[in-house]
Symmetry: C2
Subunit: 147 residues, 2 copies
DNA sequence: TCATTAAAAGACATCTATATCTTTTTTATT
DNA sequence: AATAAAAAAGATATAGATGTCTTTTAATGA
């Protein structure tokens, strides 16, 4: 796996909130879990973390739910990765060699560096808003249909 | 993680056998587990699989151990990945969407395709022999020193 | 043929990511 | 103030990757 399931849930979750935001309403967990076909309680944990990190807003109580934060659409994809998977994977030798670095590279060091830097560049430049701009006609369907 | 620990153990294991092969001798599990600082029985499982898939030779009994197969140095890195991690990661949508494809792409489809294809190309062209040719002065040290 | 060596095989254990359940806290409405 | 709604928080459960142990099989040499 390149990225964890948690990352996938987080991204689909925040994009769903963004889509519903255009309709001028908040989103609640039950609706999200249902529409995105994601385990409710597991999604709750992930959404909570996004709120804590300032990627989303939430309000408790009746008519509460999740809504966009000023920063949501400006959030880089890499921030989501950091939140769900951590950044260790970009700095850890695939052969688990502690002393692997540019001066003392393992046999795969350069190969992996290239791949990782490509991914890092991609995810460091793209924002959540960018994904919404690249209009996919079946966008809402695409982030919903897991089955 | 981009690749599993099993993959790292497999690669270091087979490269170690290749190095010792130049000294004209076979290698036994105890020596490998010791030198590579890898759990003996777990390494055994991985080595066994490589033998089964024809990446390495082995002989039982006294003076037995692991040795090179004609195909060892010609083995593509991707074959090792296939053996330890499987290929699903290259074909599965990171958002876990079953219907994600070129016709009906998820918001990250193109981004991931680029990254994956880069990795696939890299690992499909490089062989174990290539890694040994790119002479790293501290090569043996580098695949051994995990601590 | 017998003892010894070493890999093969399979059963068992642990650890981490994933998933679920229950209780607590906050907010809104009456 | 009382009730209800919904997220937050924390405890518990499951599954898959990782790691360990024991038994079996095959090869060697005396």
């Amino acid at each position: 796996m390149f990225l964890s399931k948690s990352f996938g849930y987080a991204l689909r979750g925040v994009l769903y909130v963004a889509l519903i935001h255009k309709e001028g309403r908040k989103v609640q967990l039950d609706e999200m879990a249902d529409k995105l076909k994601v385990p409710r309680h597991f999604l709750a944990k992930i959404m909570k973390n996004m709120v804590k990190e300032g990627v989303l807003n939430s309000t408790k109580g009746p008519y509460g739910g999740f809504s966009l934060h000023e920063s949501t659409l400006k959030t880089k994809l890499i921030s989501l990765v950091k939140l769900t998977d951590g950044m260790a994977q970009f700095n850890t030798c695939v052969l688990s060699l502690r002393k692997c670095n540019n001066e003392n590279p393992c046999p795969l060091h350069l190969n992996m560096l290239k791949i990782r830097d490509g991914m890092l560049a991609e995810f460091s430049s793209k924002t959540l808003g960018d994904l919404l701009d690249e209009k996919n006609p079946d966008f809402i369907k695409s982030i919903s249909t897991i089955a």
